[in-house]
């Protein structure tokens, strides 16, 4: 192991410790390269629920923008109803984004006849 490889292993392990897992992945696009920037997303929004899901930075940015565009709850809304509505809407956004990513992947494969999924991605998805 060269000194550079050693340093890389140290950084990699520190990243695993911070993430709390040795197998991080984005729940919507499947990004699993360990050096990617992962963030925890509040599914229903920070205001309504502490439910978290791990996303890559790109997906998190997109979902957060979409979340701000959702209609706000009424002033006198029951908190439990508000939470449930927010969780459902947040979950729907995740599904929408996942669906969009799947369509992207399908379109990409159509454009590369005879290529298998592993060969199609940048680095084979290796950690």
């Amino acid at each position: 192991m060269t000194p550079a490889q050693h340093t890389l292993q140290i950084i990699k392990f520190r990243r695993f410790r911070t993430l709390g897992t040795a197998n991080p992945f984005c729940a919507t696009c499947g990004e699993c390269r360990w050096w990617a920037r992962f963030e925890l997303h509040h599914i229903a929004g920070r205001k309504y629920s502490a439910l978290l899901i791990r996303l890559c930075q790109t997906c998190h940015n997109w979902i957060s923008i979409m979340q701000t565009l959702l209609p706000s709850m009424g002033e006198g809304e029951d908190p439990r109803r508000a939470q449930l509505i927010a969780e459902l809407e947040g979950s729907a956004l995740l599904h929408d984004l996942a669906a969009a990513k799947h369509r992207e992947a399908a379109d990409m494969l159509r454009g590369l006849p005879g290529v298998l999924p592993d060969e199609a991605s940048d680095d084979g998805g290796a950690q």
Binding site: M1, H6, Q9, K12, F13, F16, R17, G20, T21, A22
Partner: protein, 1025 residues
């Protein structure tokens, strides 16, 4: 030699204090080991796909200082780096040059110093890169590579590492250390300490979301092997057992100059360790449990992992505040497995039987899996039903499996000469033992319904019950999961019984193995063994697990008794229940196992047979005088057949089986008469008698022998013993085989009581027990030896030491001899010293093997009449009058340590009894003082003479916690006078017989291990010198 036979008279009752288990908890607020309040637990990271394997070679003197180590760094299983490290202070320059040349020739990396290994490899890769660290007997290796060692600190949030060692790895105080806590001979907890730096980012800290401390991932191959194979292994035996490509070599060059051959040997150890690790890891993965293999510390860990994989939550997790009084009632009824000897020191022909998977079987019969998968249990009054059942039940009724489902009942009885398990210090022994005896008491006790039925079946007397509590399982837990056992067999905990399924699968695998050959057969037998281990590990031990922690100073402990009483006492030892603690299951399991043995005993009597010994799940049926061999075998088969209806596995055979030892050793099919010589509980031997009249040992116990180092090698047997013995089959070391051989020979010649143990010259050498300094207390024994020396030159933690004992010719009786390790035991003995004073002790003052073993054949079976040192023949159950109750805790904490080194720690924790001081105690004290004098009474009860004088006159208060002990000892003093007179008569008769047999007083004294002048004084009933 025979004793007079007129002793089978009406013995009458004997008054004894009865010891009962109780429930305790800390009197203060319970402290949690969890993270401080408000912190969210974050998942612990898995190790990187890197593995660091290393092994050390040391000097062979007391310091066992590291000389050289080899290591491998593997990434995804592929060897990435292989190298060596050395301690410059332990090697000569020429040896370092040899090591360098070796590494060049073998294409290894340049050897580095130990300091560099610690920083660059162990911490640099093992810690910083999150590699998994693997070794064989890791605590020893970690102690060798450390910079220094100290006692682990205990804080409010981290009590886990009490009595552990901290090994310093770097002069940089910001770098982590390693802590090692010894759990048992096979397992230790090993963790990194927290690094001295901020782990979590500020935003995370603001959210109370902290990165957990990196504790590392340590795998001791020795520990994993013991858990997965249920036996202790050396690296050599493990490589042989697993069939690894690299086998463990032997070397005679330890301590000698470094040579290429020696370095090859050291290097191959690392490769062998790696191969064993991969094989065991694969084996563990076949269990498909989802738990990490580095978390497996014992078979119990396998059991817990299995239950966790099934989604089974422990009873404690769902019942955070159980009723302490209910727990006390349950624990009061708890006793361990029944081990007894009925025919003592008498050769009897036997038919040895054994219950199939006793604990899983009784779990299945009682339907206890429903309790394990329930959210808890409910209680109901079952007094009337239980009384009716007890009145009507017969042994034959218990052939109906449905009746066993009614056994989860606890019964409160006021014993009136009822046959029940009785835990008491028989014959004034220091520790209480458990025997099935007749008990009478003025107060009530709780017992299992199974024990009541067993007592009725054996004695014919039905206990009168005052109350009965029936237990029913609560609703099924919500989170149970269906899994595939071993990746193949679907199991649903909601509808299947785990114990039944595991044993059924095991029977199937064994049947399949019988039809295969070669590697396929071995694989099938391996699976059968794994199934057995899983069944055993989930069916008892984890439910009664209690961890005892020793506090630095006495703490308040609340003790709960079965009758609703409670009191607070002080104790340094605090019991904390294990994660799956469920005493109801534990007591029902052992109670049902005792009922099984009682049924077997009852059937034996019905068939006209007797029995020699029983041991938890086995019973040796004895052939009576005058019974023909064919009749005996037929009767034994009928006893076995009686248990066929109780087969819960639907395999069409009885759960009571004939052991292999009943058949010829070569083919295992032809019946060959088997004989037994039993001394006391767990001390017995089974043997055939050859055509030459000589015994052929088939099976022997190592009880009471295992702590001693072999006095001689297998190739140097005792004169007069067979030259070749299948030691692998009988599973005994050669010297233990020879000891039993000699005892059997003497028993056959009717001279057992005059057995001498100097039949081999090496038995006249000092007796050694090899031990390891596994906790700070033991390591401190070498404080004087280590004083002023750098760590490298000290006797280190986990280093070996020899425990010795004071001999008859010792200058002082109160010596505590130990010796630092030396490869040659003879040289080690020359360095023996007193661990308390530090003074050297001459070898002549040490106890020899012959002296240590002198009383082996006289080991008493004190729980029964006719079980004392010189007694032989049939033992009889005692009639015990309870003389008060004393509450005790866990019975076998640190048994090994206390037994080996007489560390003074009491084996069970004794909490006393709740009776407050009374005027009776004062009167008893005054009476004892009048008879024996204040000084003698003070010595007996552990108080100064002046205090005794004040107490008897009411001028001082009795210390509350000590009242039961004082009361017991006063009663003992009164009783001892009568007992001594009775016992002396028998003992003196035994001495006279020995003199007659040996021909002279001096020879008899040597055979008994007594000084001749003292023997003379004993005969004349004079005080000994």
């Amino acid at each position: 030699m025979r004793l007079p036979t007129d002793r089978r008279q009406d013995w009458g009752s004997e008054a004894l204090p009865i010891h009962l288990r109780c429930y305790t908890r800390s009197a203060g607020a319970p402290q949690s080991e969890a993270a401080p309040l408000g912190r969210k637990p974050r998942a612990k990271p898995q190790p990187n796909d890197m593995v660091l394997i290393f092994d050390t070679e040391t000097t062979i003197d007391a310091t066992q200082r590291l000389r050289v180590l080899f290591y491998q760094l593997r990434i995804s299983g592929r060897l990435d780096e292989e190298g060596a490290a050395y301690d410059p202070g332990a090697l000569k320059p020429r040896e370092i040059a040899v090591l360098r040349a070796y590494c060049v020739q073998r294409d290894l990396t340049e050897p580095i110093t130990l300091d560099a290994f610690r920083e660059e490899v162990f911490l640099g890769k093992g810690y910083d890169c999150g590699a998994e660290i693997v070794g064989f007997n890791l605590p020893f290796d970690l102690a060798r590579i450390a910079l220094d060692a100290s006692v682990a600190r205990v804080t409010k949030y981290r009590r886990k590492m009490r009595d552990a060692f901290t090994f310093k790895l770097s002069p940089n105080s910001r770098r982590p250390n390693v802590q090692v806590k010894h759990l048992s001979a096979r397992a230790s907890v090993i963790e990194f300490t927290a690094e001295y730096q901020q782990r979590s980012s500020r935003p995370d800290r603001k959210r109370d979301d902290y990165v957990p401390v990196h504790r590392g991932h340590f795998t001791d191959v020795k520990t994993l092997a013991a858990a997965l194979t249920s036996r202790s292994h050396s690296l050599k035996s493990l490589t042989a057992s697993l069939g690894t490509k690299t086998k463990k070599d032997e070397s005679d060059e330890h301590g000698g100059p470094l040579t290429f051959a020696y370095l090859d040997y050291a290097r191959s150890d690392v490769q062998a360790t790696w191969e064993c690790f991969t094989a065991l890891r694969a084996k563990f993965r076949s269990y498909c449990l989802g738990t990490a293999h580095w978390e497996i510390l014992s078979e119990a860990s396998l059991g817990k992992a299995t239950l966790s994989a099934l989604g089974v939550q422990s009873w404690l997790a769902q019942n955070a505040n159980p009723s302490p009084h209910l727990l006390a009632q349950i624990l009061c009824s708890y006793f361990g497995g029944r081990t007894e000897v009925r025919w003592r020191k008498t050769v009897k022909e036997v038919f040895h039987t054994d219950f199939t998977s006793m604990y899983p079987s009784v779990c299945t019969l009682q339907g206890l899996w429903r309790f394990i998968t329930a959210t808890g249990f409910a209680t109901h009054d079952a007094t009337a039903d239980t009384q009716a059942l007890l009145e009507s039940v017969t042994a034959d009724d218990l052939q109906d499996q449905a009746l066993w489902l009614r056994l989860p009942v606890l019964v409160r009885v006021r014993p009136s000469d009822d046959l029940l398990p009785v835990r008491a210090p028989y014959c004034r022994e220091k520790n209480a033992t458990i025997g099935l005896n007749y008990l009478a008491a003025d107060s009530s006790i709780w017992v299992t319904l199974a024990d009541c039925i067993a007592g009725k079946i054996l004695s014919g007397k039905t206990p009168a019950i005052e109350e009965a509590i029936g237990f029913t399982p609560g609703p099924m837990q919500a989170g149970l999961k269906s899994i595939k056992l071993f990746g193949r067999h679907r199991f649903d905990p909601r509808s299947d019984d785990l114990f039944r399924r595991l044993i059924q699968l095991r029977i199937e695998e064994k049947g399949r193995a019988a039809k295969l050959i070669g590697a396929e057969r071995e694989a099938a037998e391996d699976v059968a063994q794994s199934l057995k281990i899983t069944a055993n590990s989930t069916s008892y031990g984890i439910f009664v697990q209690v961890n005892v922690e020793t506090e630095p100073s006495p703490v308040s402990v609340e003790v709960f008794g079965p009758d609703g009483e409670s009191f607070v006492t002080k104790s340094r030892k605090v019991e904390r229940p294990g994660p799956y603690f469920n005493p109801l299951l534990a007591t029902l399991i052992t109670g049902a196992a005792r009922l099984m043995l009682a049924l077997a005993e009852s059937r034996a009597v019905t068939e006209g047979l007797d029995w020699v010994f029983c041991d938890t799940d086995s019973l040796a049926l004895a052939r009576p005088e005058g019974m023909a061999a064919e009749e005996f075998e037929a009767a034994a088969e009928r006893v076995i057949e009686w248990f066929r209806p109780l087969d819960p596995y639907d395999c069409g055979s009885s759960i009571l089986k004939a052991e292999r030892a009943n058949y010829a050793a070569d083919d295992g099919k032809v019946r060959e008469p088997l004989f037994c010589l039993a001394i006391s509980s767990k001390r017995y031997v089974l043997f055939n008698i050859g055509s030459d009249g000589k015994p052929q040992i088939r099976k022997g116990s190592a009880h009471g022998l295992g702590h001693l180092r072999a006095p001689y090698r297998a190739d140097d047997p005792a004169p007069g013993t067979p030259a070749s013995v299948p030691l692998g089959e009988i599973e005994l070391p050669r010297w233990q085989h020879d000891l039993w051989y000699r005892l059997v020979e003497n028993a056959l010649a009717d001279r057992l009581n005059s057995t001498r143990y100097d039949y081999h010259p090496k038995l006249r050498r000092p007796a050694l027990s090899r031990y390891a300094a596994t906790n700070p207390g033991l390591w401190r024994w070498f404080a004087t030896l280590n004083e002023g020396k750098p760590y490298a030159d000290q006797v280190k933690p986990f280093g070996f030491l020899y425990a010795l004992h004071t001999g008859r010719k010792a200058a002082a009786k109160s010596q505590h001899p130990i010796a630092p390790f030396d490869r040659s035991p003879e040289l080690a003995v020359r360095k023996a010293f007193d661990r308390v004073t530090g003074d050297p002790i001459a070898a002549e003052g040490l106890q020899t093997y012959a002296e240590a073993l002198a009383g082996y054949h006289m080991s008493p079976e004190s729980k029964f009449r006719g079980g004392e040192a010189f007694d032989q023949g049939r033992t009889e159950r005692r009639h015990v009058q309870a003389r008060g109750f004393e509450f005790i805790g866990k019975e076998a904490d640190r048994y090994e340590e206390a037994f080996l080194v007489d560390a003074g720690s009491e084996l069970p924790i004794r909490y006393g009894s709740p009776q407050p001081p009374t005027a009776d105690l004062q009167a008893a004290l005054a009476a004892a003082s009048a008879k024996f004098g204040d000084a003698a009474v003070g010595r007996a009860i552990g108080l100064p003479r002046s205090t005794v004088a004040k107490l008897k006159n009411g001028k001082a208060q009795f210390p509350r916690g000590q009242c039961p002990g004082i009361s017991d000892r006063l009663r003992a003093m009164q009783a001892v006078e009568a007992e001594i007179i009775a016992r002396e008569g028998k003992v003196i008769e035994g001495y006279r017989d020995a003199i007659q047999t040996q021909g002279s007083l001096r020879a008899a004294a040597h055979s008994l291990g007594i000084d001749p002048s003292n023997l003379s004084r004993r005969l004349r009933r004079l005080p000994e010198i």
